[in-house]
């Protein structure tokens, strides 16, 4: 019974969860405010959760972990930059960015999905490299594309778009804290935000948006198409015998994953304050993959609970470990921790013998 319970949750998750709890207990002793840390973790959960959610459709349809996240991220960036080009501000601007992002994601996702259908069984490696190539290709495009809005352009006579485009005047609003300091906060982040005490501010808007997207994904898998998609992923032989069009459903899952990533990156950007271009999209790949794996997903099975637990644990470790260790030992190990946790988790998932 007890071993069953451990098996079900899995050792890595238990260890990481205990470690995270321990960090929160030690935090005050290291001079780190627990409320502030909680706010960081919740804030980062809001920023990353939809990106992590974008893993689900592809995992469920048997395409494996989506190492091609940068493709969706770039679709979102294109949507965002275009929306800013039109000079659209406020919620309208974000909405237009998302709609455009989804349209770009559908186009890119279609091509990406067709490639993945040709090479079943090798999706993950090739997705990684398709992602890398596309990011490099778009780096050329960012220099050439005829965007005109000075906010987006390189200053000092350089050509092309900036490395980081500030969205403060478009997707953010300025709020004044109780102590008089001013800060730009993303519109979705600030939507319905609640203050608990002095240090803890819950970004209800982002959490709400995640809840809506998660509900949509959940509902999709309850439809006929959704359940056929699961059949394709878990038992392709059976799916074929049942007359399901495997390639079509895989294609749909890739487009869905890409579109979700496009929405996710816009939520991230409006909170972060900048649209990051050029090689920045690559930074999201291993982080999102590792997050859903920590949540308990495997290469061929994932659900929304995995997304929620995984994002909290992963972002928790990433924010808490450096601040606690830095506070206690005055040593900066954030990069080391990020590399070891992220890639260790992916390695664990890749080397687990599949149960099928």
């Amino acid at each position: 019974m007890q071993t069953d319970f451990i098996k079900k949750i899995g050792w890595p998750r238990i260890i990481i969860a205990l470690f995270l709890i321990a960090l929160f207990i030690v935090a005050p002793a290291a001079g780190v405010s627990v409320a502030k840390s909680l706010e960081d973790v919740i804030g980062r959960f809001g920023m990353f959760s939809i990106l992590v959610l974008s893993m689900i459709p592809m995992i469920q349809s048997g395409c494996g972990l989506n190492f091609g996240v940068p493709i969706g991220v770039i679709a979102g960036i294109l949507g965002g930059v275009t929306s800013i080009e039109f000079g659209l501000k406020g919620f309208l601007g974000i909405l237009v960015a998302m709609v455009l992002g989804i349209i770009f994601a559908c186009i890119f996702g279609l091509v990406y999905g067709i490639i993945l259908n040709k090479i079943k069984g090798d999706e993950m490696l090739i997705a990684t490299y398709v992602g890398y190539s596309f990011v490099a290709f778009m780096s050329i495009a960012w220099v050439i594309l005829p965007y005109k809005n000075p906010v987006s352009l390189m200053s000092y006579g350089g050509t092309g778009l900036r490395q980081q485009i500030p969205v403060a005047n478009y997707w953010m609003q300025s709020i004044t804290h109780a102590d008089g300091t001013r800060e730009s906060v993303g519109l979705i982040t600030n939507f319905l935000a609640i203050n608990i005490g002095d240090n803890l501010r819950i970004p209800v808007g982002m959490l709400l948006l995640f809840a809506i997207m998660a509900a949509l994904v959940w509902a999709f898998f309850k439809t006929k198409m959704g359940s056929s998609m699961i059949a394709v992923g878990s038992n392709p032989e059976y799916a074929k015998a049942a007359g399901i069009n495997i390639n079509k459903l895989r294609l749909v899952s890739v487009v869905m994953s890409t579109a979700l990533a496009a929405i996710g990156i816009i939520v991230y950007q409006q909170s972060y304050g900048y649209i990051q271009l050029y090689i920045a999209p690559l930074a999201f790949t291993f982080q999102t993959v590792a997050a859903i794996l920590i949540g308990g997903a495997s290469i061929n099975k994932a659900n929304i609970v995995h997304v929620i637990i995984g994002t909290i644990l992963y972002q928790g470790i990433l924010t808490m470990t450096p601040s606690v260790i830095n506070g206690a030992l005055k040593v900066d190990v954030s990069e080391v921790i990020r590399l070891i946790v992220t890639n260790g988790m992916i390695l664990y998932a890749l080397t687990r013998r599949s149960k099928a």
């Binding site: 190492f67 490639i115 040709k118 090479i119 079943k120 069984g121 090798d122 993950m124 490696l125 090739i126 990684t128 490299y129 398709v130 890398y132 190539s133 490099a136 290709f137 780096s139 050329i140 220099v143 050439i144 050509t159 092309g160 291993f286 040593v331 190990v333 990069e335 080391v336 921790i337 990020r338 590399l339 070891i340 992220t342 890639n343 260790g344 992916i346 390695l347 890749l350 080397t351 013998r353």
Partner: protein
């Protein structure tokens, strides 16, 4: 048969055309071109050759060669710290790097055995994972727990190795015996080429080693495992052990390859040097006409030549074409990734097709039996 020959030469020919267009656009001085390509061939060939043996064992491209590269870099850091210069320094660095590379290779091989069919992506993640420990070692442990002699290599905080090290062992192999070749061609053009005999001998040595190795018993066994693991293990071969050995050899060679590479460059980018080793080596090999399941020494040498020719020419060609050097820079990054991506897709597509035809044949047989 004919068709497979065509696809084999398609990639090198395509690259030759790209390079020719690049040269026509950029019109670089020939002295620059020959000097630079010679230097880069000497620098990179060894690392590319380190990829061949795992391919023989059917493990695909070893994207884990940064493991070996990191072992070599650790050796170089110690040598720089202790102040050993010149060729002896490089040999000591290799001696320090070898056991680390063997250990890492053993570990990598075991991990890859648990991830059969996903070796390439796993080896890639493995490189990132080990990089985390490498950073922990050099950035936090070196200088705090491990004592140091040379203050110059330590960060101002009092521990941890600096981001960039000037190597005292620079050109330790190259300088031993260097023959500069220089003669005028037409117009004002000149032919310039440095021939560092010792370094080239090292590259020749690894080529001979690879050829010899393929003929040993272990080499034959490895090829058998590479062709069909089931048949090989039925024939009494320890496939797991043989696969681990192939990765260990590749990792150790990568360690030496990185040392040769860095002594030629002269500075060590402590926390970024190993990163691109795998990408460029893999791209070079594939450009030379190798595939994920078949690679030879000529593939490696030709590929290194073509890939680095592209690398030299592209930024200038981009500048000549668009007036912006950055575009050429991005374009060559794009090409290196695109080459690897396309080669991987082509290989996977072929395998997928073979598998599905085999599947259909099997089904037909079943039907006929009925």
């Amino acid at each position: 048969m004919k068709k497979s020959n065509l696809t084999r030469f398609m990639v090198p020919v395509l690259f030759l055309i790209i390079c020719a267009i690049g040269i026509a656009l950029a019109k670089p001085p020939i002295a620059y071109l020959t000097g630079e390509i010679g230097r880069r061939m000497v620098r990179n060939s060894f690392l590319v050759l380190a990829l061949i043996i795992p391919i023989l064992a059917g493990m695909g491209i070893n994207f884990g060669i940064p493991l070996g590269a990191m072992a070599g870099q650790i050796g170089l850091v110690f040598v720089t710290d202790w102040g050993i210069t010149g060729t002896p320094g490089l040999i000591v660095a290799a001696l320090i790097g070898t056991p680390i590379a063997i250990l890492l290779g053993q570990f990598a091989g075991r991990v890859l055995n648990r991830a059969r069919g996903r070796e390439m992506i796993t080896s890639m993640i493995l490189a990132f994972f080990i990089f985390g420990w490498y950073m922990l070692f050099l950035l936090n442990i070196y200088g705090s727990i491990i004592p140091y002699k040379n203050k110059k290599i330590i960060l101002s905080q009092g521990y941890g190795v600096k981001n960039a090290l000037k190597l005292d062992v620079a050109h330790g192999f190259d300088k031993l015996l260097n023959i500069p070749i220089k003669f005028p061609l037409w117009d004002k053009q000149k032919f310039v080429l440095d021939v560092p005999i010792v370094t080239i001998l090292l590259i020749v040595a690894i080529c001979i080693f690879t050829i010899w190795f393929k003929k040993t018993k272990l080499g034959h066994d490895m090829r058998a495992v590479g062709q069909d693991q089931k048949v090989a293990s039925n024939a009494g071969l320890y496939t797991d052990k043989i696969r681990i050995q192939s990765i260990v050899i590749s990792t150790v060679l990568a360690c030496y390859g990185q040392i040769i590479y860095l002594q030629n460059i002269g500075t060590l980018n402590t926390y970024g040097g190993q990163d691109q080793a795998a990408l460029y080596a893999a791209a070079s090999l594939l450009v030379g006409g190798a595939s994920v399941s078949k690679a030879s020494i000529p593939n490696a040498i030709l590929g290194t030549f073509l890939f680095h020719l592209m690398f030299i020419v592209m930024p200038q060609a981009g500048k000549a074409l668009t007036g912006d050097a950055m575009i050429g820079e991005y374009f060559r990054t794009f090409l290196s990734y695109a080459v690897v991506t396309l080669a991987l897709i082509m290989h996977a597509y072929k395998r997928h097709k073979e598998m599905s035809t085999a599947h259909k044949l099997a089904q037909q047989e079943v039907k006929e039996e009925k």
